[in-house]
Symmetry: C2
């Protein structure tokens, strides 16, 4: 119970800013109606956001007969946020204004054999420098950098505890990055980054309970619960990719057999294709992206092998998503990340049908299944949102240690 | 956001009463320290509970030099609560005082072929009458009756939407019961009842995130998240028994194949035994309870078939519980219900080892796995707790419609 009133204040601050970003300009009265908070509470929170220069007064609206109402809007140029998506095959860095519009972008391939932590850190640092220069903004205006790295991460210490695709163990990532980057740094993983992106800007906005299913090289589920991100007791929640779908099935890099990820992650989909047509021209043995692209084109052209692979994949995916629907009973399941984006509507249709076959009637009836509507990279956007949340959490905090982890952490093992 | 401040008040009221029940007598200052609430807030909530006669002033404690502190304690005789556990093979009804001590109990077998709704309702009504008479209390002191029925239930309408073991569909259970029972009625299912029992009185007390795994004829998981019961958007959360463990595996009565329940529910365990030793004397083909009893005795005696069956069952169970650990990252997993109780420590040891093999290292390290410490029937206790929560929710509510569903519901289809 101890964290209640502080958490509520922070959550209310998020909610008010979320509403202002979604619809600017707006009045305190409209915000109160949209959030269910009192006008007095909204006025206090708006005052804090004005003090932070995250929003700005933009005039008045007429109100029939009454006092004119003051309008506020996002102060897009009041600061900048950087999101870093360290994915298995690329590093992508985007710089956003406070309206979460992309101002600059840098993308680099992460080549196999070049994924040692020092190499990856060098790439990220160079790309962060590049986007700040490209956007032509002063460093002092960068409110923070959110960094997403796959696998298990410890937010408090900034350590990437286990990144299976690169075989990283206990890498003190934020400390390594802090040698190059002076802005406040925030570490998390792509499951939570894409969930926060949907919560603030996508299909989970205004929802109490949502699951954001990430389909990329790795697979997992970001959980939105009671209107906020659910992390679990050690920030490990959402490892749905490592739940057992086929007992004694395909070997997974986590050491278990039959994990969902081994059937629906990009390498799993390549294996589904290989099992169906070992010599299929759709298969690019060393290139996940090219293979998924070929499958998407194949489905569009009616290629029977491509159609069958997507159907088989959707069957695994449908059984796995039905598990989430049965356990979690969410309002919406959002399919996110690059595999979902590339395979798109044909995959979605098959998945919906497969979930219907596997899920219980009552929770299925309560759940929508949709593709992510976020137009940009949701992981970069979510990582930048973590930096925004960090800046909002600092409001009224005397010792802002949780928002500048790079400076306040104790020295991690190297 | 709309429900926030009201929910917080209700949750705080629960928390203060929970602390008082756990440790009576106690002072407002001690309660404030234990809950993290201010003394002023605690004083207000204590005042409400005193007005309800749920607690009582019991004198003062010395405080070195300062003003003597007033002490409060549960007013055990201030009211009675009834919990009803309508299980697949029995109906159990218990009457509790406000300290949640059992004052009276009635248990009846639910015989196959006698599970039509009217028959079951008659049994429950008779048993409720019996426990009130047996306890020798006035009806006016019964604050409410919580009823647990397996499967999918709609709390708001009091309808048992789908109870697979009896093939009930859309049974207006609370309306049927209200023809016999005048006390406020509250409907839910055993997953949530046993989770609430652990949250108030058992292994989830004071925990933020816990999973209560119910092992009976049916199987499921009650979820405690953020210190409260998690229900999902349509009160269907927790149907872990119907998640896929073995794609295309054993046929489940839900229509899916390979559900966890088909391997670790009592009938599933009987099938595990049958596959291992079709003519084993441990097997009582028509009697789940006798078979599980025989297995428990067999394990204690070192019978190799019994040991193997428990190990095989624990292997399925461990993979399924590892899924919960990976997705929810809870502090504690509690094994509850009658199968867990009967198989006890030998099952627990095997399950821990199996979860360790299947789960990711980080969430596994953060999770304890324990047997339920609740000494009585956790489903009856949890159902009675729903009645207690209903009475607490009514505080300060002008129109107590949510706490007297039997009277305020619209007529359901019959």
């Amino acid at each position: 119970m101890k964290r209640t009133s502080r958490d509520i204040r922070t959550a209310n601050r998020y909610e008010v800013l979320r509403q202002i970003i979604a619809q600017s300009p707006t009045s305190r009265q409209t915000l109160a109606a949209a959030t269910g908070l009192s006008v007095a509470t909204v006025a206090t929170l708006v005052g804090e956001l004005l003090d932070l220069r995250m929003i700005t007064e933009v005039g008045f609206e007429d109100s029939a007969g009454g006092r004119p109402r003051g309008l506020v809007a996002v102060n897009a140029s009041g600061g900048a946020l950087i999101g870093v998506d360290m994915a298995e095959t690329y590093v992508r860095v985007e710089l956003f204004d406070l309206g979460l519009n992309v101002l600059a972008r840098a993308v680099e391939d992460m080549r196999p054999g070049e994924s040692r932590p020092e190499q990856a850190v060098g790439q990220v640092a160079a790309a962060v420098g590049a986007v700040v220069a490209q956007a032509g903004i002063e460093g002092a205006r960068v409110l923070g950098v959110g960094v997403s790295v796959p696998g298990q991460v410890d937010r408090a210490t900034g350590i990437a505890e286990y990144a299976p695709n690169w075989d990283w163990h206990d890498v003190p990532l934020l400390d390594l990055l802090a040698e190059y980057i002076a802005y406040p740094l925030h570490l998390d993983n792509p499951l939570r980054a894409s969930a926060v992106a949907e919560l603030w800007f996508g299909a989970a906005r205004g929802r109490e309970d949502a699951v954001v299913v990430n389909l990329g090289t790795g697979v997992g589920a970001g959980l939105v619960l009671g209107g906020g991100l659910y992390r679990g007791v050690s920030n490990s929640a959402g490892e749905w990719g490592h739940t057992t779908l086929v007992l004694d099935g395909r070997l997974c890099h986590c050491g278990n057999h039959g994990c969902v990820e081994t059937y629906v992650g990009a390498p799993g989909i390549m294996l589904n294709l290989r099992e169906l047509g070992p010599r299929s021209p759709l298969l690019h043995p060393e290139d996940q992206t090219a293979t998924i692209d070929a499958l998407a084109l194949g489905v569009a052209a009616g290629d029977p092998v491509a159609v069958k692979v997507v159907r088989d994949t959707a069957r695994y995916l449908g059984a796995g998503i039905a598990d989430l629907v049965n356990v979690y009973n969410p309002e919406v399941v959002v399919l996110s990340s690059w595999v979902a984006k590339k395979l798109g509507a044909p995959l979605l249709d098959e998945v919906r049908e497969a979930v219907r076959r596997h899920a219980l009637r009552r929770p299925f009836a309560a759940t929508e299944i949709v593709l992510s509507p976020v137009p940009t990279d949701p992981v970069c956007l979510g990582a930048a949102t973590f930096a925004l949340e960090g800046a909002l959490q600092a409001v009224g905090q005397r010792s802002p240690k949780r928002t500048t982890p790079a400076r306040s952490r104790t020295a991690p093992p190297s």
